[in-house]
Symmetry: C2
Subunit: 102 residues, 2 copies
DNA sequence: CTACTATATAGTAATATTACTATATCTAGT
DNA sequence: ACTAGATATAGTAATATTACTATATAGTAG
């Protein structure tokens, strides 16, 4: 197997995941889904955001492998596909609690 | 003290940190500095990147509170200010190792 | 002051992200 | 087929990010 990997290659995927959740709404969504699935409308309402934007965020995170989607009748429920982002979430909270910069 | 906090407010700072390190070069820099300071030139060389871009990344991360800078003569050494991003780094590595999506 | 090394910044073009409106698609029920 | 509810997508304008070149600034040595 070809092990000739560009050094930068190593950081591409991790960076993409970080960037994906590096948005206030998307971070809020991840936290919201930490303990279970929610429908698009539920998420949008909890977020206080418009349906279209919410759907865009969800689609993006699904494309990046952070979330999964499951259709149930007319509703679509989203959940966390990459469970490790939850650990990430807690890391970043500590990371921020311990600092005073904004 | 005013505890009337916009729900979205909670996610602004964490999201900003994630976004800040959500770039391959910047992630590489964080890893590089995990075990000690480096000068701008050292970092640029190790990265295989141009000096100007490297400096821009470093300045950005310093502004966001991720790194600190320390001048020593003509050189400037950068180090990790927010030690928690190291934990973040390891979280995200596991996060990626355990998934197959790109 | 001059020259040199190291770093930072200005200016800029290409591209990406964001937030929005309007509209399309999908599903279930009548 | 028609309607309504739920979700997705197209199109778009404003803004942000990225990567680049050229130049400026800071520090040191002579």
């Amino acid at each position: 197997m070809a092990m000739t990997v560009n050094p930068a290659e190593k950081f591409r995927k991790p960076a993409r995941v970080l960037k994906t959740v590096g948005h206030p709404d998307r971070l809020a969504i991840v936290e919201m889904l930490e303990h279970g699935e929610r429908s698009v409308n539920e998420i949008a309402e909890a977020l206080g955001a418009k349906q279209a934007i919410t759907s865009q965020h969800l689609t993006l995170m699904r494309d990046k492998g952070v979330l999964y989607a499951r259709r149930e009748g007319t509703k679509v429920f989203y959940g966390i596909e990459n469970k490790n982002v939850i650990r990430l979430l807690h890391c970043i909270y500590q990371s921020c609690d311990n600092t005073q910069q904004n």
